[in-house]
Structures are given as structure tokens and as C-alpha cells.
Amino acid sequence: MAEKIHTKGKSSIKRSRFIKYFLTYLFMLLLSLVIIYPLLITVMTAFKNSDVVAFTLSFQGPWTLKNFQDLFMTTLYGKWYWNTLVISVATMVIQVAVVTLAGYTYSRYSFAGKKWSLTFFLVVQMVPTMAALTAFYVLGMLLNGLDHYWFLTLIYIGGGIPMNTWLMKGYFDTVPYDFDESAKLDGAGNFTIFWKIVMPLVKPMIAVQALWAFMGPFGDFMTARYLLREESNLTVAVGLQQFISDPKDQQVALFAAGAILIALPICALFFYLQKYFVTGLTAGGAKG
């Protein structure tokens, strides 16, 4: 009798465990499907004939690379891509340099106005970029910066400074002060401590900052659309939207091919640096 109950309990545990396993995997598979399906549609469409109308998943040929060829031969896509690369690299280099210096300072030094300016950074980063759009335009007219990359680049750099300085400071804070102290005892100067001792330890966060700064201009639509007018001066985000913005003449295949060429390198960088920014995120997030 007692034994019977025991086996019965065992099988019910087994069954409930089976249900748990089943539901878990079912959920994860369904979610994967929902994530992959729309992405796969875009990837597939890129290799379809350019007269394709329906934006659906189909594994039927004919397959072609003509869209990619058209992209560079008949549209300004190559130019747009180059424009965006120039802006992205400039933004990345300058922003990372500026933010690293500022973040280091806020982490390591105490000086008059520190607390006040940190709060100021926090408030400033909450103001939406949109708030300044018309002002950017007028400023651009005044400084002859409309349709010029230096102006757009400056705006991208400046806009990222407050939030990224906060993140950078949070990460610098995780490097123990003892390192600085012992280096100072050994006679190292300010610069040596910064460059030789602390910098190597925050490389992961710098990699993340670089990635985000680099990705910014690729993803920004609003500011670029507002400040760049000449067709050949556009960034790739604004240009790509033009392929499908006219409801009567949507070139979905061309769009899909262009989308892939943007998404692939960024995805690759993203997954390459993933482990860094996951730690950066939780370290920074935990501390604030």
C-alpha cells in the first residue's frame, strides 16, 4: 500500500516535470520563431527579383544578387554608406575620448561643483533631442553647417556626452582606488596613473562606448533627416527609408538588400562585444 502511494507520487512528479519542460521549450521555441520570422523575411526578400511586391516568407526562387548590384550601380546607397561611416567613425573617436576623460575625472577627483554638475548631466540627458531640433536648424543656418557633416557629427557627439559620462564614471568607480594609491606611492604622475594603471582595466567599457557611439549615426533618423537636405549627402538610414516611403512605388527588395548590409556588420560587432556590455550594464546599472 505504502509503496503504491510512493510510485504514484513519483509518476505525478515526473508528469508535472514533463509538463514544465514541455511548456518551457514550447515557449522558447515560439518566441524564437516570432523573432526569426520577420528577420528572415527581410533576408530572403533581399535575394528575390526586384519586382517582388509581397513582403512574405517564401523559399521559392529565383534567387538573385541583382538587388545588391543595383544598390551600388543605380542608387546613391554606396555614397550614403560612406557618409554614415565617416560620421560614425568621427563621432566614435571624439566622443569616446571626451567621455573617458570626463568619466575618469568624475570618478577619481573631488572638485568644487562636482555634485552639482553631475546632477546637471543627469537632468540634461533627459531632455529629448527633439527639443533642440529647430534650434539646431537655426544654428546650422547661422554657422553654415546645414548639409555639412561636421555639424551633424558635433550634435551626435554632444548629445551622447551626459549619459555616457555617467556610465563611464560608474565603470571607473569599480576599479579600486588602491591601485591609484600604490602607483602614486611609486612616484607615478596623474597622467601615468590614468593611462598605464586605470585605462587597461576599463577597456571593456570603452569598447562598449565605442560601439554605441558608432551605431548612433547608423540608427538616427530624425536629426539627419532634418539637417541634411542634398540627396547625395544623406546618411544611410534616411536614404534607406526613401526606398519604401512612397506607397505607390515601394522597392521592397532593394530596401531589404540595403537593410542587410547595415544590419550585418552592426550585429557582428554587437555579438563580438556582447559579454563586455552585459557586464558593463549590470555593473553600471547596479551602482547607477
Binding site: Y37, T105, M126, M130, A135, N190, G219, I244, C267, G288
Partner: protein
């Protein structure tokens, strides 16, 4: 020799004199030089810039009101910086005199000053580029926008052909009391709130749920699932949003052509095609679902990190005490998540409140029209964009809406940050 701090302070009313009194000749020269530069700047540029800001120009075609406003705002910033320098100068004279009296050695020569600057001025030197960039790309433009909200800058007043005038609170009055704008503002604002609440809550709940489910020990292929779940974050958002706007196309999109027929086929239902792009209700539903898709990976990554940091002992102790799975989740897991991630959650809400890309790129704020140039799915930020880019731009009104938005976002964020004690101001 004893110095009188008060006399040093008094002399510093003209910057440099107090420092001279303290025996710091070089510093005195520098301070006085900075003072002179400011006075000269004020005479040749500053004064006219400030009066320009007040009048906003008097002669059409000759005075460009907006340029005058930008220059005047810049001059205001210069003035503020000078005042900060001035206060610093007063304090410095007093402090140095005190230090002399207390027997401290003060830097006098060039090499001494350089050394002193190396330690005390180093922080300012390092943060200088950040401040300069922020002044020109954030502070100046935001101030100009703030001023614009109190002017009549619109399609009837385009400089340099016409002048712009200050019109006080007119724009704010129009927004709340002029019937057309009031109706539009009400409609857009309430959808903005619904959108922010639904979309953000969906992405947070989904993110937490996925993290908790995927964190279970028995799961195989964790790495592969991990990569798949990150894809929506890794692919640039504008690419996916544009793709989704094709996928939800009423006549040619995958949802109506492929997904709905497929579901009908399996479940023997008869769901008809849905007007995703032309029916306001369904556009809104689609937008919220897409934002859930786009936004959950970030939360998932964050929460997974937190879950890994919770000690197993807690769960074991709870199990011994006979806690159910749900009790463990409510009393151990959730509090741990919120204690770390609450500030991030708030930023997600404020992010969606201003999530321009998805609204604009998915259906251009459409379909239809709720007056004032706004479409049915327009949120405040995309309405502002339309107000400034359509054929009859309303820059003043747009700036007024911007100010209201910014005030809401900053107010709510600060309140929550203060409550959750995030962003601790240590050191």
C-alpha cells in the same frame, strides 16, 4: 605679513586687484586680463547681442530675428560663465588671504602656479572638452527652444522677410484654450500616455518572463537561445521598424497574406485580414506589439544578470520552509530585480514617451487625422516633428509642447530616481 581677507575681497570687485594685494602678481595679471577681455567683448559684441535678444530685430530683411535670438542666448551663456568666474575671483582672493595668515605657502611664480594648476586644475582641464561640447550642442539649443516657445515664430513669421516678436504665454494659451489645438493636444497626449504605459509594461513583463524561464537549469542550447533572444536588440531598430511596416502592409504584408491564413488553417478559425495600416486601433495594437518585440531583449539581458547574482541559498532556504514557486518568485526574485533595475525601467518609460522612430517610421503617425496636423498614432514628440516640418510650420507652438514634454519627463524621472535612491551622489 598679515593680509586682511575682507580687504582682499573688497579689492577683487575689480578682478585681479585682490590677487595683486595678496602678492600673486601673475595671477592678478591673468584675472585682470580675463576681466578686460570680457569688458571689450561686452562693448563690441555683447551689448548689441543682448539688446537684440530683447527686441528680436527692428528692420525686416536686415535683422534676422532667429539669428539675433541665437546670438543673444550665446551672450547670456557668456555672461553666466563670467559671473561664475567673478564669484570664483572673489572667493579666491578671500581664501588666499586667509591661507597667507595661516602660514600656508601660496604659489606666486609661474612654475609654482603651473604645479598648483596641475593638481587643482587637472579635473577642470579634463572635463573642459565635455563642457564645451555640451554648451554648444545641448545647452544653447535647448535654451533657444525655451525662448522660442514665447515667440510668434510660425509660417507667417519666417525671418528674415518678417520679424519675430515675443508674445508671452500665447502659445501655451492656444494649446489649452484654442478649441482645435486643445482637442488635438488632448487626443495626442492621451494616446501618448496609453502608448507609453502599454508598450513599456509589455517589454518589461516580457523581458522578465523570458529571463526567468530561460534561466532554469535544465535548459539545453542556452547559448543559441541567448543569441536568438538578443537579435531584436542587435539589429538596428530603424531597419526592423521599416521591415515591420512592410510586414504589416494591408494587402501585401506577411501578417495578412501568410500568418493569418496559416493560423486559420491550423485552428480552423476564420479571422479576416486586418487593416493594420488604415484602422487607427490596429495600427496602435501593432505598434505596441512591435515595441514589445524590440524592447524586451534589453530587459532580458539586465534581468538575467541579476538572476545570476541571487544566491541559491535563499531559494534553498525558502524551499525548506515550504514556499511554493510563486511565493519564491514574489518574495525573492522580484524584489531583487526591482532593487537593481528600477531606474532602468523608469528610463524605458521615458524612452518610449519620446520614442519618435517607431511612430514615424511605422506608419508616419497615421492613419487619418485628429486635427492640428496630427495623425491617429502620433505621440507628442512626432506631433512636434510634424508641426515643424509640414507646409505651415508652427515653431512657437512646437517649442511650447516640447517644454511641456521635457518638464513631464524630467519631473517624473527625478521623482522616481529620488524615491528609489538610484544614481547615488557619492564622493
Amino acid at each position: 605679513m598679515k593680509k586682511s581677507p575682507n580687504q582682499a575681497l573688497g579689492l577683487s570687485i575689480i578682478p585681479g586687484l585682490g590677487q595683486f594685494y595678496n602678492g600673486q602678481k601673475l595671477k592678478a595679471g591673468l584675472f585682470f586680463g580675463a576681466f578686460l577681455i570680457f569688458v571689450v567683448e561686452m562693448i563690441f559684441f555683447g551689448w548689441s547681442a543682448l539688446t537684440g535678444l530683447i527686441t528680436l530685430g527692428t528692420v525686416p530683411m536686415e535683422d534676422h530675428s532667429m539669428f539675433l535670438m541665437v546670438k543673444g542666448t550665446l551672450q547670456l551663456l557668456i555672461l553666466v560663465i563670467f559671473i561664475m568666474f567673478y564669484v570664483l575671483n572673489l572667493r579666491d582672493a578671500r581664501q588666499t588671504a586667509k591661507q597667507i595668515n595661516e602660514g600656508h605657502k601660496i604659489p606666486v611664480s609661474f612654475s609654482e602656479m603651473r604645479e598648483s594648476l596641475g593638481t587643482n586644475g587637472f579635473p577642470y582641464l579634463l572635463t573642459m572638452p565635455a563642457y564645451l561640447l555640451m554648451i554648444f550642442t545641448i545647452i544653447l539649443p535647448v535654451l533657444v527652444t525655451l525662448f522660442m516657445a514665447f515667440t510668434n515664430y510660425d509660417f507667417n513669421h519666417i525671418p528674415p522677410a518678417q520679424l519675430i516678436d515675443w508674445n508671452g504665454l500665447e502659445n501655451f494659451k492656444n494649446m489649452f484654450f484654442l478649441s482645435t489645438y486643445r482637442a488635438t493636444f488632448g487626443a495626442v497626449f492621451s494616446w501618448t500616455l496609453i502608448w507609453t504605459m502599454c508598450a513599456t509594461t509589455l517589454q518589461i513583463v516580457l523581458g522578465i518572463f523570458v529571463a526567468v524561464v530561460a534561466h532554469q537549469d535544465f535548459i539545453k542550447f542556452k547559448r543559441i537561445f541567448g543569441i536568438i533572444f538578443l537579435l531584436p536588440w542587435a539589429v538596428p531598430a530603424f531597419v526592423t521598424i521599416l521591415s515591420f511596416s512592410n510586414i504589416f502592409n494591408d494587402s501585401a504584408g506577411a501578417i495578412n497574406v501568410q500568418v493569418i491564413p496559416f493560423l486559420n488553417h491550423i485552428f480552423f478559425t476564420h479571422i479576416p485580414s486586418i487593416d493594420w495600416m488604415t484602422d487607427p486601433f490596429w495600427t496602435k495594437v501593432a505598434l505596441i506589439m512591435i515595441q514589445g518585440w524590440l524592447g524586451f531583449p534589453y530587459i532580458y539581458v539586465l534581468v538575467t544578470g541579476i538572476l545570476q547574482s541571487i544566491s541559491d541559498d535563499l531559494y534553498e532556504a525558502a524551499t525548506i520552509d515550504g514556499a511554493t514557486a510563486l511565493q519564491k518568485f514574489n518574495n525573492i526574485t522580484l524584489p531583487a530585480i526591482f532593487s537593481v533595475a528600477a531606474p532602468t525601467f523608469v528610463t524605458q518609460y521615458t524612452f518610449n514617451f519620446n520614442n519618435f522612430s517607431i511612430i514615424y517610421l511605422f506608419n508616419n503617425g497615421g492613419p487619418g487625422d485628429v486635427g492640428g496636423g496630427a495623425g491617429n498614432s502620433d505621440i507628442l514628440i512626432s506631433w512636434i516633428y510634424k508641426l515643424t516640418t509640414n507646409t505651415t510650420p508652427q515653431y512657437g507652438l512646437a517649442s511650447a509642447v516640447t517644454i511641456i514634454i521635457s518638464a513631464i519627463v524630467i519631473g517624473v524621472s527625478l521623482l522616481v530616481f529620488k524615491k528609489t535612491n538610484a544614481f547615488k551622489m557619492e564622493g
